[in-house]
Amino acid sequence: MPQNADNVLDHFDLFRQPEYREMLANKKKNFESPVAEAELQRVVEWTKTWDYREKNFAREALTVNPAKACQPLGAVFAAVGFEGTIPFVHGSQGCVAYYRSHFSRHFKEPSSCVSSSMTEDAAVFGGLNNMIDGLANTYNLYKPKMISVSTTCMAEVIGDDLNAFIKNAKEKGSVPKEFDVPFAHTPAFVGSHITGYDNVMKGIFEHFWGGKAGTAPKLDRVENDQINFITGFDPYTVGNVRELKRMFDLIGFNYKIVCDNSDVWDTPTDGTFRMFDGGTTIEETEKAVHAKATVSMQEYCTEKTLKYIHEEWKHEIVPFNHPIGVKGTDEFLLKISELTGRPIPDQLKLERGRLVDAICDSNTHIHVKKFAIYADPDMCIGLVSFLLECGAEPTHVLATNGSKSWAEKVEKMLADSPFGQNCHVYPGRDLWHMRSLLFTEPVDFLIGNTYGKYLERDTGTPLIRIGFPIFDRHHHHRYPVWGYQGGLNVLVWILDRVFEEIDKNTIVPAYSDFSYDIIR
């Protein structure tokens, strides 16, 4: 018996004990009808080949291990960035259980969201009654300041009309007539989670600025000196938004983060559960119409929103692509300086110098190391930019939800750098494609989300966890990756892994440990 009350063996040790190993070997041999070992090994080796890669890349219908989620997830992400707001997802209820779990596993925080719980009868007759009852329940139980409605694929397939349903529900008294219920159709079979973010942001602006679905006058824009910032679907939102605010306060100008979920996903443990915390207020959202410019930190998360704000409201529009590192932050701050007429303060210049100092101290460990990167489209661009300035060689850049025009943009960046010459960009591909890339054209390091650990296991490529979701490492989302301070964090995450690999490769006594250096 391997178990012991004084030294309790966990699953990872327990099932490696001889009793269990023998039991599992017998199970396999006697009952599983396993593939013969030689055949298994043959196929294992085949999956590493160019032949397999070609077949794998010829896939047209099957997606395996994609690095993207569906629109409704992004819809929920956007909604909770507004003060006192509950996301209300119209459609099947299982979806909402999934979004809540997904965010809680990443942020290690509660994630509040409700569903209209549509079932078979709603599939036949439509979900109007679910909307009527649902809004009334949410309003009465949770006392929100706003309910942000989006959809699942079920409601989209049967064609439920949110505008009409919400009006109807208000007439039935589910919520007061003047209560804000912005909405967005977010079909899961179009785009990805970043599209859902975009649609909800646009829906919220349309609601507050464009006359609340015909129930209020459109706002009159009186341009002022405020700059709006939309941060996009950002896994580091907690750290990043706080870093933006810190930098902006140093610069000293009139700004507003529109959709700020940095507090709701970072509440304290002090004896009180806060379903709502922080967020952009309704008043602030309304006033944002008067801003002179709107800056998006993630262009591909805000394509429709920016177009709307520009065409309907004539804001100057400034899109960025999740800027990471020295040049990314330089460009970002210079643009802010240009927009505001304010100089970039010495403090930020000092921080810039410190980041350059850190890169200077350490870049030899990153220089010409090959990297594979997968992430959402904007983050890919930020990471590639930073790697290039560290002298690394991005080799495979993949975004399952990246478009052709995104790929062209990345290719242009790569072409402009001597370190980007041997890199290929893969829009619309998945992590099973990435597996073939890593086998046939190996790299030194992989940057990606938690699911990259399967690629690390199969191909031996060390994974640096940056992206969404990160389920198996804690608290990184509390650190910024934006600004010079954020660049420092990314640098340290990369370096930690580089040094761990060197140590791992040199740790064998009397064989390799001459290089197991104490100073690196």
Binding site: M1, Q93, T119
Partner: protein, 486 residues
């Protein structure tokens, strides 16, 4: 520490009554009437728990439930390791359930086993408009080329499939024929069907009956049989639960010919109708197929509970009662073998946990099954409820709970928060969506679906882990830090 600290059973019952009334006050009238039927307390001698169950959730209340797809792909089919399970429809469902359930297995993932992978047809608008059958057929072809060692395929339908009128059965039949009779199982587990995960379990069970068992008829049995063959049904091997259960059954002299479905294979599913006895852990999710095997193949089934040493011993004896003296002696031998371990666990942890109060809200069997394990440690379960239980679950619950236990079916976020706030248990056991809510409130918490990434908790070896984990949760020094001294 209990704020209200009712002393007598009458006081507890009065408190519960007031608490339920207080919670219900916040609902609009229609929903209040509905929710009132789901909240109650157990009365000594009751046949069930006097709550309605397995009814549609009220919209907009923050139910904790999932959907039929979660019940089929996430629970029943997903863990079958040598088959490829296609999440058929848009990308999200498969993405959010990707490797999230800790169904442990042994195999070379991506080559001969596929559990922790996400296969999806990633539906686009054109698939909705023109239908997805052609795409599905092509997916099957691509699977056969790229994953040639797969032992079968299942099609796990997401919401749109049933709404756009796709014929996944025809595609499955056609492709099975084309690939030499390969097992290809279409599953109609669209998320809008039924009221929770539960119908997904049922639909998945039925698909095994129709597309696995019926296909086997007339074929020779793949394994040589013995008089001691059993199948473990309804253990999903969360963190290895089925393994720490299997070892006990084998040690008492039984031969486990199949695991359903944690670390299971299609070969094991196919062999199961030849078992002498099906031993059923999660009644809720697999009673259907157990009943079917009893009716059609004459395989009896028996429920068991491997949480905590008392229930384990009781269950080993119950299982043994279906066999001869050799097995009965085997059961006694196993109970004796592990006695020292159990005693040591109790001796170490009971003093640290004695008298602590627990509130549970879980799925399947756990809202009742784990109560014995807590009681072995001297703890008391003061409230429990099922995400997707039926009345037969609440009947079975009466054998576990005490008079005055608060019962909440399909609890809403609002209710659960208020109940815990008022009752102030020493521990809450529920899921990831609830974990951080209660921890913020300063209440120790364990995830009782995923075992909070620890576990497993089944069997004697893992009762030690259970006890250690509960101690770790409740007696962590961090709970003394939640109030700032200023």
């Amino acid at each position: 520490m209990s704020l209200s600290a009712p002393e007598t059973i009458e006081e507890i019952k009065q408190r519960n009554k007031e608490l339920i009334a207080e919670v219900l006050e916040h609902y609009p009238e229609k929903s209040r009437k509905n929710r009132a039927k789901h909240l109650n307390q157990f009365q000594e001698g009751g046949k069930d728990c006097s709550v309605k169950s397995n009814i549609k959730s009220v919209p907009g209340v923050m139910t904790i439930r999932g959907c039929a797809y979660a019940g089929s792909k996430g629970v029943v089919w997903g863990p079958i390791k040598d088959m490829i399970h296609i999440s058929h429809g848009p990308v999200g469902c498969g993405q959010y359930s990707w490797a999230a359930r800790r169904n442990y297995y042994i195999g070379t993932t991506g080559v001969d086993t596929f559990v922790t992978m996400q296969f999806t047809s990633d539906f686009q608008e054109k698939d909705i408009v023109f239908g997805g059958d052609k795409k599905l057929a092509k997916i099957m072809d691509e699977i056969m080329e790229i994953f040639p060692l797969n032992h079968g395929v299942t099609v796990q339908s997401e919401c749109p499939i049933g709404l756009i009128g796709d014929d996944i059965e025809a595609v499955s039949k056609q492709k099975s024929k084309e690939y030499g009779g390969k097992t290809i199982v279409p599953v109609r587990c669209e998320g809008f069907r039924g009221v929770s995960q539960s119908l997904g379990h049922h639909i998945a069970n039925d698909s095994i009956r129709d597309w696995v068992f019926d296909k086997m008829e007339g074929k020779p049995c793949p394994i040589e049989l013995t008089n001691y063959d059993v199948a473990i049904i309804g253990d999903y091997n969360i963190g290895g639960d089925a393994w720490s259960s299997r070892i006990l059954l084998e040690e008492m002299g039984l031969r486990v010919i199949a695991q359903w479905s944690g670390d299971g294979t299609i070969a094991e599913l196919e062999a199961t109708p030849k078992a002498k006895l099906n031993v059923l852990h999660c009644y809720r999710s697999m009673n259907y197929i157990s009943r079917h095997m009893e009716e059609k193949y004459g395989v009896p089934w028996v429920e068991y509970n491997f949480f905590g040493h008392s229930k384990i011993a009781e269950s080993l004896r119950t299982i043994a009662s279906h066999f001869d003296d050799k097995i009965k002696e085997g059961a006694e031998r196993v109970i004796e073998k592990y006695r020292a371990l159990s005693d040591a666990v109790i001796e170490k942890y009971r003093p640290r946990l004695h008298g602590r109060k627990v509130m549970l809200f879980v799925g399947g069997l756990r809202p009742r099954h784990v109560i014995g394990a807590y009681e072995d440690l001297g703890m008391e379960v003061v409230g429990t409820g099922y995400e997707f239980g039926h009345n037969d679950d609440y009947q079975r619950t009466t054998h576990y709970v005490k008079d005055g236990t608060l019962i909440y079916d399909d609890v809403t976020g609002f209710e659960f928060e208020k109940f815990v706030e008022k009752i102030q248990p020493d521990l809450v056991g529920s899921g990831i969506k609830e974990k951080y809510v209660f921890q913020k409130m300063g209440v120790p918490f364990r995830q009782m679906h995923s075992w909070d990434y620890s576990g497993p908790y089944h069997g004697y070896d893992c009762f030690a882990i259970f006890a250690r984990d509960m101690d770790m949760a409740i007696n962590a020094p961090v709970w003394g830090l939640t109030k700032a001294p200023f």
